[in-house]
């Protein structure tokens, strides 16, 4: 199993600004995932972050809007850029073990006004 922490746990931001979310894992992992969970919706994968390479983005998500860093095997950041109210959501990071089980962080609740 893995223990994941995220910072901040929540934030209220103004339209047009950017927020960087941090994700820390207690063990080294190859892949880290970033998800978005909008109110009443399922989790949607934003991108996959591998250490040492560029993140892979899912359809509908672009690097300019959601730049990701993965400087080492235990840490990643997701930036939500030029925010609008539609970006209000919970953002979660996760990792997967060798048995395909995913472990999630507690999430970052973002409100854009």
């Amino acid at each position: 199993s893995a223990v994941i922490s995220q910072k901040p746990s929540r934030d209220i931001c103004q339209r047009g600004t950017s927020l960087t979310i941090q994700c820390q894992v207690d063990s080294q992992v190859t892949m880290m995932f970033w998800y978005r969970q909008q109110p009443g919706q399922s989790l949607t994968l934003i991108a996959t972050a591998n250490q040492g390479s560029e993140a892979t983005y899912e359809s509908g998500f672009v690097i300019d809007k959601f730049p990701i860093s993965r400087p080492n095997l235990t840490f990643s950041t997701l930036t939500v850029s030029n925010m609008s109210p539609e970006d209000s959501s919970i953002y979660l990071c996760s990792v997967e073990d060798l048995s395909y089980e995913q472990y999630f962080g507690p999430g970052t609740r973002l409100t854009v006004t």
Binding site: F33, S42, L45, Y100, Q102, F104, P106, R109
Partner: protein, 114 residues
Amino acid sequence: SQKIEQNSEALNIQEGKTATLTCNYTNYSPAYLQWYRQDPGRGPVFLLLIRENEKEKRKERLKVTFDTTLKQSLFHITASQPADSATYLCALDRSGGSNYKLTFGKGTLLTVNP
């Protein structure tokens, strides 16, 4: 793309009864299917994984079945307790192979009444 439907948005049952949640999917059959629990304000917590060649899997009071012909998984909680109240999410791998990406259903909110 894979589409997942979980039987209902909300399910209310009495303590001690068995809760049964349904997950239906379309298109390809996944190599494995997972169930997660999510409490308010928290990230999902992994519960069980069942592979395409497995019919049933158990863990304590939890049981999962997987019917690739019906394209359906059933998730049972026996002897339910108020502490079991949470949202339960079904998730499938994307490609039916070794792809690690998951597609999640919207979840079913289970409330167990004392």
